[in-house]
C-alpha cells in the first residue's frame, strides 16, 4: 500500500514536470518554429548590415518567415553577404522582391524586411540558393547625421 502511494506521488511528480515542459513550450516559446521544418536558402548582398546578426528574423509585413543563418564577406570588394533560411511554407517569392534591413522601434534589434515584388509571366520565383539583388542597407545613424549636416551646409 505504501509503495502504491509512493508510485502515485512519483507519477504526479512526472506529470507536473511534463506540464511544466508543455507550458514552457506552448506558452513561453515560439514553437511555430519557422526554421525547424523544411527550409530553403536565399542570399542578399548589402553595403552595410548595421547591427544585423545571425539568427535575426526575416519578416514579411511583420510576420517572421525565416532567420538569418550566416553572414560573410564575399566578392572582390568584400561586400557583406547574408544567407537567409526561409520556411518552405513561404516559397512563392518572385525574383523582383526586395530586402531591406530595418530596425524594430528606435532602440530595438535589427531584422530583414522582405517585400514581395510584382508578379507577371516574365518573373520567376526564387529558388533555393537564389540571390535577391534589390537590397537596401541598414541605416547608420552617423551617416544620417553627416548627410543632414551636409545638406544644411548647402543651403
Amino acid at each position: 500500500m505504501e509503495s502504491r502511494n509512493t508510485q502515485l506521488a512519483v507519477g504526479l511528480f512526472v506529470i507536473i514536470g511534463i506540464l511544466a515542459l508543455l507550458f514552457l513550450g506552448l506558452r513561453a516559446a515560439n514553437t511555430s518554429a519557422v526554421t525547424s521544418g523544411e527550409t530553403y536558402r536565399l542570399y542578399a548582398k548589402f553595403d552595410n548590415i548595421g547591427g544585423l546578426k545571425e539568427r535575426s528574423p526575416v519578416k514579411v509585413g511583420g510576420v517572421v518567415v525565416g532567420r538569418v543563418s550566416r553572414i560573410t564577406l564575399s566578392g572582390e570588394y568584400y561586400e557583406p553577404l547574408v544567407e537567409m533560411t526561409i520556411s518552405a511554407t513561404y516559397n512563392k517569392f518572385p525574383d523582383t522582391s526586395s530586402v531591406s534591413i530595418l530596425t524594430s522601434g528606435l532602440l530595438g534589434e535589427q531584422y530583414i524586411g522582405l517585400n514581395p515584388g510584382f508578379i507577371d509571366e516574365t518573373v520567376e520565383m526564387l529558388q533555393d540558393g537564389d540571390q535577391i539583388y534589390d537590397t537596401k542597407s541598414a541605416l547608420v545613424l552617423e551617416d544620417l547625421i553627416g548627410q543632414f549636416l551636409f545638406s544644411q551646409g548647402n543651403d
Binding site: V10, F13, A29
Partner: protein, 258 residues
C-alpha cells in the same frame, strides 16, 4: 620547498585516486543488466525521496525568484521605455540560467546532502558491508537507484522551477505593475526559441543532475564512517557540487550561447 612540492604531489595523487574511485564506483553501479522487477520499486522509492520531496522548495524558490526578476527587470526596463521586453527577460533568464543552476544548487543542498548522509550512515552502521556479505551488491542496490532518481528528477524540477518562475514574473509584471498582458506573452514568444533556449536549458540540467548526484553518492560512499566523517562528507557534497555546477555552467554557457 621540497616539502611543499611533495605536499602538492600528494594532493594531486589523492585527487586523481579519488576521481578514479568515483568513476569506478559509478561504472560498477551502472554497468550490467538491470533487473526491472527489482529495480523499479527501488527507483520509485528514490524518485519519491529525491524528487517529490524537493518539489516544495523548488516551487517556492522558483516563484520568488520569478517575482524578483519581474520587479527588478521592470524597474530597469521602464527607464528605457522597454517594459514590453519584461517577458523575454524573465523567461530567458530562467530558462537559460536560473532554472538549471538554482535548481541544481537547491538540489545539492536538499537532496544531495541527504543522499550523502544516508549512505554515509549506512556505511557507518555496516549496512553496506552487510549487503555485501549477503551477496547483494550495494552499488547496484543502493547507489544505482539513487543515481538514476537524481538524474531523472533534476531536469523535471528545473522545468517546474522555470515554469513557476515565469508565472511569478507574470504575476508581478502584469498583475501588479501593469505591463500589457498580450505584449508580455507575445514578446516572450517572439524571443524564446524551443531549440536554443528550452532544449539547451534541459541539457544543462541533465549535466548538473549527473554531476551533483554523482558527487553526493561518491562522498557518502567513500566517507570515513564516523560522525565527524559523515558531517564532513555532507558539507563537502554541498560545497563541491555547488562549485562544480557554477563552473560547468560557465563552460556550458560558453559552448551553447558563446
Amino acid at each position: 620547498m621540497l616539502d611543499r612540492i611533495a605536499a602538492l604531489g600528494r594532493v594531486t595523487l589523492d585527487t586523481v585516486a579519488g576521481a578514479g574511485a568515483a568513476l569506478l564506483m559509478l561504472l560498477k553501479a551502472l554497468i550490467g543488466k538491470p533487473n526491472v522487477r527489482k529495480s523499479w520499486p527501488l527507483l520509485m522509492q528514490q524518485m519519491y525521496a529525491v524528487g517529490v520531496l524537493s518539489l516544495i522548495i523548488i516551487v517556492v524558490s522558483g516563484l520568488f525568484i520569478g517575482m524578483v526578476l519581474g520587479l527588478q527587470g521592470y524597474n530597469i526596463l521602464v527607464d528605457f521605455g522597454a517594459e514590453q521586453s519584461l517577458g523575454p527577460m524573465v523567461a530567458l533568464s530562467l530558462l537559460r540560467e536560473l532554472g538549471p543552476v538554482v535548481t541544481a544548487l537547491l538540489f545539492a543542498g536538499r537532496a544531495g546532502s541527504s543522499l550523502t548522509a544516508e549512505i554515509g550512515l549506512m556505511k557507518a552502521t555496516e549496512q553496506l558491508s552487510s549487503l555485501e556479505m549477503m551477496g547483494v551488491d550495494p552499488l547496484r542496490r543502493v547507489i544505482a537507484p539513487r543515481f538514476w532518481a537524481g538524474f531523472y528528477s533534476m531536469p523535471l524540477l528545473a522545468l517546474v522551477f522555470s515554469a513557476v518562475g515565469i508565472f511569478g514574473g507574470y504575476l508581478v509584471g502584469v498583475r501588479w505593475l501593469g505591463v500589457d498582458e498580450g505584449a508580455f506573452w507575445s514578446v516572450m514568444q517572439a524571443n524564446v526559441e524551443w531549440g536554443q533556449d528550452i532544449v539547451n536549458g534541459i541539457i544543462k540540467s541533465l549535466v548538473f543532475a549527473f554531476v551533483v548526484t554523482w558527487i553526493a553518492l561518491h562522498k557518502g560512499y567513500s566517507c570515513t564512517p564516523t560522525s565527524v566523517g559523515i558531517s564532513r562528507a555532507t558539507t563537502s557534497t554541498v560545497v563541491t557540487a555547488s562549485l562544480a555546477v557554477l563552473g560547468l555552467d560557465f563552460v556550458l554557457t560558453a559552448l551553447m550561447f558563446g
